[in-house]
């Protein structure tokens, strides 16, 4: 059986969001003006990043659900993508802050 449009849409949104989160973490750590700009929006760059992640997850999930874009992807491939994204994003953060 397949996953529903809502589930598959939010799974794909989560995979993209966790990768984006790691990319944004590295970018703001490497480029101080970006960190300062994010800090100026809410008072702290971490708060801004959390809100961006949340909006991205909900927004992409809603878009993928309404367009049924993720529903066309095989369920096993979708689950593997999420697991792979979390592993890459988690290890990426660890490696970045350990060595860069």
């Amino acid at each position: 059986m397949k996953l529903t449009a809502a589930t598959s849409g939010f799974v794909l949104a989560a995979a993209i969001t966790v990768l984006f989160n790691t990319a944004l973490s590295c970018a703001k750590d490497a480029y101080a003006p970006l960190k300062d700009f994010m800090g100026s929006l809410t008072g702290h760059d971490w708060t801004t990043q959390g809100l961006i992640d949340l909006v991205l997850f909900v927004g992409l999930g809603a878009i993928f659900m309404s367009t049924r874009a993720a529903e066309r992807i095989d369920s096993s491939r979708l689950i593997a993508s999420l697991i792979g994204a979390v592993v890459i994003a988690g290890l990426g953060l660890c490696i970045w802050f350990a060595f860069v």
């Binding site: 529903t4 990043q49 992640d53 369920s75 689950i79 999420l82 660890c94």
Partner: protein
Amino acid sequence: MNISTSDIILLAHAAFGATGCLAALWVFVEVLNAQPANAVRIRAAAVVAAICMAGAWICGGYWYVHFYPAEKALILKGPWPFAHNLFMETKEHLFFITAILAFLLPIAARERLYVNPAARQLVLSVAALIVITGLAVEGAGAVINHGVKVALLRDASKGSQ
């Protein structure tokens, strides 16, 4: 006894995080034996996991923004600067991944898990990832705490000499 607001918020953050991990583990175990009879329980546990992670986010975020800078300064001057440079930096960004997964869990748990193997595999994967990343974040919190402790102990031992 002198328990400050900062202490309460910090302990609430850790307690919410640990409870969220336990709720995700509860979902994992229930889904191993998914049936119509435990479908409501699985959905309830998934919602508990999401609510707890939201609580951990709010408490941890408030504490991090308002109270952590003083501890950060202590850690960086102490013998364990990596408690901030590696563990806090990784933890504060890794937590977002755990939180997003926790918000995904109730959505995935709405599927009819007892007749859908793909949905079961998804919920098991998401719950396991929450437990693994959540425990990593909890462990990092312990290292950060110890970074403050060794810095204070060194200052105290210098003062007593």
